[in-house]
Amino acid sequence: MTDTTLLRASGVCKRYGSGDGLVRAVDGVDLEVAPGETLSIMGPSGCGKSTLLHILGGLDRPSDGQVWLAGNRLDKMGERGLARLRRDAVGFVFQAFHLMDELTAIENVELPALLAGHSPRAARRRATELLDQTGLADRAKFLPTALSGGQRQRVAIARALANEPLVVLADEPTGNLDSEATLDVLRLFDSLHQTGQTLIIVTHNSRIAATADRLISMRDGVFVDQTRLTGGSTGSLGALAGLEG
């Protein structure tokens, strides 16, 4: 592994079942992600992208292949080590938010820091900062049920950042959001990108996917195409709107 790689997967496979019922959800994936890079993985539902994301974040183990995160080999790691690594080094964002409904926004955000052994004061300070950064300072004391979908997702993103993770993994982060809330989440991801946060987004929404530096298309468990998006397109923006000259 080179110094410029934060996350590396090599020959990763995930199989379910056997014989005629064998499903190859992920079928031999190689991937390297540089620190500060934003990557999207796009593909139809059932293409294996969520399974792959879970493997990259240590939520699931590959049937075959290796996964390295910042020098740690995840696929061979014990349960306790893996749990610690997930808590300290990975931030997860899910389609269905997965907030604790009985905790307020700020309590949800500070929870990972408390679990990591930070003092309540330090955890609260960090959570306050993060809610401020996600534009939710005035919603800190609200229960998730009193928040809109977009606000809940922003709380979930703040929570994912609580322990300053090496990488944020987002699984269909805007799947449950309307276009206005989607744009808010996009702005937030964009500002994270600007601060150098490494981010991997799995989505079937081309709009979310297009915010990344690099986009991978996945089909039937394999990568079928890769595009670098930062190079710019051939025409001008004006031409796209029908303006000429």
Binding site: L186, S206, R207, A210, T227, G232, L237, G238, L243
Partner: protein, 176 residues
């Protein structure tokens, strides 16, 4: 740019050329950046010749073009009204791409799926660019709405490419 757009920008009140440019710039945001300023004056001169606008020099000022104030004539107002009532919509050029895939497959000239992939990469780069510009616009920006239109159109085109991909994958598999 269509003459009618320049005319319509004058409908609010008699204006200097630079005021027209500012109005267009505000409505277009980053899309107006490569707008050719000289073209507005050329268009205004044509409109004047056609009797759709009149032009008066502000008194006591030098004969610089920006000192001219343009105003719609009755005919100009009628033209603007007609333009607003006109139901026009740009025609998307889908048939050409569709026929490209058909021809590539029929003549075994190229893999239709490779053509779809190349097209998708280009559209995604455009989407990425439009998306970045949209994020950079403040929430209340008028130009943001235009960028949103570009984004939504590109998303629709990308969905169509998905349908093309399914179709040509299916045909390839059924032949094997």
């Amino acid at each position: 740019m269509r003459q009618e757009i320049v005319l319509a920008m004058l409908a609010k009140e008699p204006s200097h050329g630079y005021e027209l440019r500012a109005r267009l710039g505000q409505a277009l945001g980053p899309l107006g950046d490569d707008m050719n300023a000289g073209q507005i004056y050329v268009t205004l001169a044509r409109l004047e010749k056609a009797g759709l606008v009149t032009c008066e020099r502000s008194a006591g000022l030098a004969d610089r073009p920006d000192r001219k104030v343009y105003e719609l004539t009755a005919a100009g107002q009628q033209r603007v009204a007609g333009w607003l009532a006109e139901v026009s919509w740009p025609r998307p050029d889908l048939a050409e791409f569709h026929l490209k895939l058909v021809a590539a497959a029929a003549g075994k000239l190229a893999d239709p799926l490779a053509i779809v992939d190349a097209q998708r990469r280009e559209l995604l780069r455009r989407l990425s660019e439009a998306q970045r510009a949209a994020i950079a616009e403040p929430a209340a920006s008028t130009a943001g709405l235009l960028l949103e239109g570009i984004v939504l159109r590109l998303q629709a085109d990308l969905r169509w490419l998905e349908a093309c991909e399914r179709n040509w994958t299916g045909r390839k598999e059924s032949k094997q």
